[in-house]
Amino acid sequence: MAKRLDIKDLNLFYGKFHAVENVSLAVPPKNVTAFIGPSGCGKSTVLRSLNRMHEVAPGARVEGKVLLDGEDIYASTVDPVEVRRTIGMVFQRPNPFPTMSIRDNVVAGLRLAGVKDKKKLDEVAERSLRGANLWNEVKDRLDKPGGGLSGGQQQRLCIARAIAVQPDVLLMDEPCSALDPISTLAIEDLITELKKEYTIVIVTHNMQQAARVSDQTAFFNLLGVGQPGQLIEVDDTEKIFSNPGQKATEDYISGRFG
């Protein structure tokens, strides 16, 4: 079920602004790939283009190819809704649906896709919450609103919601940036477990986090204000953090940038 992603000559635009230039990158299955780089370098934009969320913004445009096990998700015959069902996403700020209970939040993707079988939904809810290491904390209050959980629990609820639809790939956009260190640790442990089943791409501002959780790291940079962001290099995480191939990467990792 985990699939590989191949990004080929990707160029991303917001209206006339060229946000990201010529990104080519391979994301192997059952593997964690981290995107690091300074603010505004386009790493989140690239991530959002991997499940066709980039085009939701007005005027946003994509050139190039993103292949999921060889199939171009930007082919003209492909329904973006199907793409997003296959490639899930977790956002920077936890965003549970405020009108729904914890259980309904988890199974929202299935229920709104038309699954009505209560027994199946309950099974999926339990499996997903266990998968997100949240089951023991919420099993006695599944009917309470999701908004009443702590920030870290809400984020794990969002991860449970994303894995409930059994995607092939899971994209995470700075999933810990709004969380305290203990919740961050919980999510990082979860990522390590999730990679047994899912292909994961994570954007992070925290280099220690990239070093802790990822197998492969891609460093993005910006040559100047108003210039498009670029992929500087991608390699095994160990190599990037010990012996990067580019000087810009080394400068960024060691704090000598700007």
Binding site: T86, F97, P98, T99, L112, P145, A162
Partner: protein
Amino acid sequence: MSTNLADPTRLATPPTFQAVSLSRRIKNGFATALVWGAFLIAIIPLVWVLYTVVQRGFPVILDGDWWQKSLSGLLARQQGGGAYHAIYGTLVQGLVCGVISVPIGIMIAIYLVEYGGRSKLAKATTFMVDILTGVPSIVAALFIYTVWITYAGMGRSAFAVSIALVLLMVPVVVRTTEEMLKIVPDELREASYALGIPKWKTIVKIVIPTALSGILTGIMLALARVMGETAPVLVLAAYAPFINYNLFSGPMASLPLMMVNERNNPTQAGFERLWGAAITLVLIITLFNLLATVISRVLAPKTK
């Protein structure tokens, strides 16, 4: 140094902090007086109106007949009877107006917020809604009179009143719904898209439920407003002292129309009916406002 340690209240240097200066205290007193003055000026007429309405109308509506009987067969000076015919008219005209306005208003708002963006059609629609908001009710009434009665050849009826009220209610519904949809965070829409939920289903199942309490509150307030409108009923429906259940033909009473009518009745019975109708209208509108509060409490997204 040692003296400072022994007596921490004694300062080694001149104090950094002083008492509030006289000029600031004067300004503060002046501003406080202004705010209180404005509050009193606003509250006195309100209390006065309420007092007058309650004092004159309350004894009238205590009679059970008031809520159950019409004025059918009664002479102007004869006491007794009730306002059932007018209450029925006000409620049913408001309800029909609501049934037509709410779907139109909500769909316009959904278009403006979710689909229109900065397109020309969206801008034109917003402009039209703005203009419609400012149309006086008498103009709406005369417009419907021209189109519905003069050109289309229909008679004066309760339904004509309802469609004139639609013109007044739609812009209010559009405005409140638009504001409520706008405050639904985009993150929720994105979370829904990311689960592979199509846009229309995201709007119906995620965005609208999140904004529902605000939308319904707006609808209730708009309904309360149009039910008190007098110009459309004056122009588009003739008064009837009896009960008329037919929306599409014949005269039908409503509370504002009953009040206008009884104002021309110089007897004690007329005085009682006038103030009875007034307090009934105030009560109905208050009820709708309370209902709006209850709905928004019950439906608001919870965290516990």
